[in-house]
């Protein structure tokens, strides 16, 4: 080693129980990944764009045929049903992107076999989760904001016109996405990459139950009880009320928020137990294999 630049004389770091700098370091790490690859950035918008165009043009076609209830005669600007459908499509994407935005950051660590490096560093589990939540918001915004602009351009549909209610929808959908993401990340950590499929598929199990495209009243009564356990059900019902009747259902949003708090707490406990389970089984030493 060079005597002129001896790296062994450097001052040593100090212990801090919680550090925003460590959260920021992890966010920086994920931003570096996104910046280094334009296909990754493009991929963030790819599926939401496909969904928007497919459902939007289908709705326009049905409107032109006069077959869609609530359709505006002669097509063009969407009728109530069209607005509700596109609102549902976009909010569903918020839910999915919120979950995958967290899971993608987590999977980056698994794919690159870097998780053990993180778990032996001063980074706490809470800081790791907070960094992934931050990236979830960032990725979701990168995915959704351009798509909402395209919705205005193609279909004359402005999601942002939902106003303050939209903020409540976003918060509740993100919280549900995070709860599922934390749970599935823990399952992957505990069971290895064989459980990766859960990350991609679990949200879609909820899709028919949380009544994205139809009201809860359509479901049989026993499934309605299941639906009302899921916070997205309240959001989509609330979005339909706001779009169709211009009524913001704060009661629905508060109920969704309360359930989300419970779900996030349960997911946090499950994550901690799954990490400890991984430490017991020794699987953290063979991550990525």
């Amino acid at each position: 080693m060079s005597r002129s630049a001896d790296p062994n004389t450097a001052p040593r770091p100090r212990y801090r129980a919680f550090s925003l700098e460590r959260v920021g370091a992890m966010v920086l790490r994920y931003v570096y990944v996104l910046r280094s690859s334009w296909p990754r950035l493009l991929e963030l918008m790819y599926w939401p764009l496909l969904q928007l165009l497919t459902w939007g043009f289908l709705q326009q076609y049905l409107s032109q045929q006069g077959g869609a209830p609530g359709a505006s005669p002669g097509g063009g600007a969407l009728g109530t049903a069209g607005r509700v459908l596109l609102g549902s499509v976009l909010l569903w994407e918020v839910l999915v992107r919120g979950q995958l935005g967290f899971n993608m950051s987590f999977l980056e660590e698994m794919w690159s076999r870097n998780m053990a490096n993180l778990l032996i560093s001063p980074l706490s589990r809470l800081e790791l989760v907070l960094s992934m939540l931050s990236m979830s918001v960032l990725r979701m915004l990168v995915s959704i904001v351009p798509i909402t602009v395209l919705a205005i351009f193609f279909f004359d549909y402005n999601l942002w016109s939902l106003g303050v209610g939209l903020g409540a929808f976003f918060v509740n959908l993100l919280m549900t996405g995070w709860a599922l993401a934390i749970l599935t990340s823990g399952l992957v950590l505990r069971n290895g990459m064989g459980a990766e499929g859960l990350v991609w598929s679990m949200m879609f199990v909820l899709m028919p139950l949380c009544c994205v495209f139809y009201p809860v009243s359509v479901l049989p009564s026993f499934l309605q009880r299941v639906a009302w356990v899921l916070p997205p059900t309240y959001v989509f019902e609330g979005m339909r009320a706001l779009s169709a009747q211009q009524v913001f259902r704060s009661d629905l949003m508060l109920q969704a928020f309360a359930i989300n708090v419970v779900l996030l707490s349960l997911a946090g406990v499950a994550f901690a137990q799954l990490v400890d389970g991984a430490r017991r089984s020794g699987s953290l030493m063979s991550i990525g294999e």
């Binding site: 790296p7 690859s37 690159s112 053990a116 560093s121």
Partner: protein, 256 residues
């Protein structure tokens, strides 16, 4: 090196790991004085990596306790993690980040003061300068090992754990890495614990050797003392005696 008056950097007591039917580590106890280099030696499946995993907290022991730098690792291990680091060929750094970005991220995770200067120092000392701004996935295996060592030294750890630090490296690069480790211990007074299959490496670096077999410590002494005890020429011969179950009695019988 006189390490007798210093407190232990590592203390393991009754450390056990049971995986269902298999006992990977079977009640081992050892301590490592500060400022020393100790090698964990043993064949495949002897329990070296599991032992390192338990010391770091990546693997929960079934029984026993671990103290690193005086901290009980079963409680408040985060209090001491900023003073420790680890390198292993079986864990990697993100390949899509440049070398500098990786060092910056880990420097921030460890709360390294004057991080830019620290990265420059490591780049010069470990000769990373030519590829500091290249993606980590696009450099050679030897260069990756140097970068991994840079990550392991980013926080100037008082305790450095290494799992086969020169595995799959050519002799020249391996020798270079060993020189860096010797220099680091000498100039920083750090404690090093390495698991290795490379007997020449262990003979050269280690003050002490812990020999493991089937999860148990079968011997613990300085390399020269082990060679003398087993009546062998090299540590490799001692290793073969232990690995093939000849043990001390077998080795002595063979030499008479």
């Amino acid at each position: 090196m006189n390490t007798l008056a210093r407190p232990d950097a590592v203390r393991a007591e009754g450390l056990t790991k049971q995986y269902q039917a298999a006992r990977a580590v079977d009640g081992i106890s050892f301590s490592i004085p500060q400022g020393s280099i100790t090698a964990l030696l043993g064949g495949n499946g002897a329990g070296k990596t599991t032992t390192l995993g338990m010391l770091l907290g990546l693997v929960l022991p079934t029984a026993g306790s671990v103290h690193l730098l005086g901290q009980d690792m079963s409680q408040g291990r985060h209090r001491v993690l900023h003073r420790i680091n680890f390198q292993s060929p079986y864990i990697a750094l993100p390949l899509s980040l440049t070398v500098r970005q990786n060092l910056r991220v880990f420097g921030k995770l460890y709360g390294v003061p004057q991080l830019g200067r620290r990265i420059d120092e490591l780049a010069e000392a470990l000769e990373l300068g030519d590829f500091l701004d290249r993606e980590t996935g696009k450099i050679s295996a030897g260069q990756k090992t140097r970068v991994a060592l840079g990550k392991a030294l980013i926080n100037s750890p008082e305790l450095l754990l290494l799992d086969e630090p020169t595995a799959s490296l050519d002799p020249d690069t391996g020798d270079w890495i060993r020189t860096q480790l010797e220099n680091y211990r000498r100039t920083r007074g750090a404690t090093l614990l390495l698991a290795s299959h490379n007997m020449l490496e262990v003979e050269r670096l280690a003050d002490d050797v812990i020999m493991l077999k089937a999860g148990r410590i079968v011997d613990h002494a300085a390399p020269s003392a082990l060679i003398q005890k087993y009546g062998r020429e090299t540590l490799e011969d001692v290793f073969l005696d232990v690995a093939r179950g000849r043990g001390l009695a077998g080795a002595q019988a063979e030499t008479t």
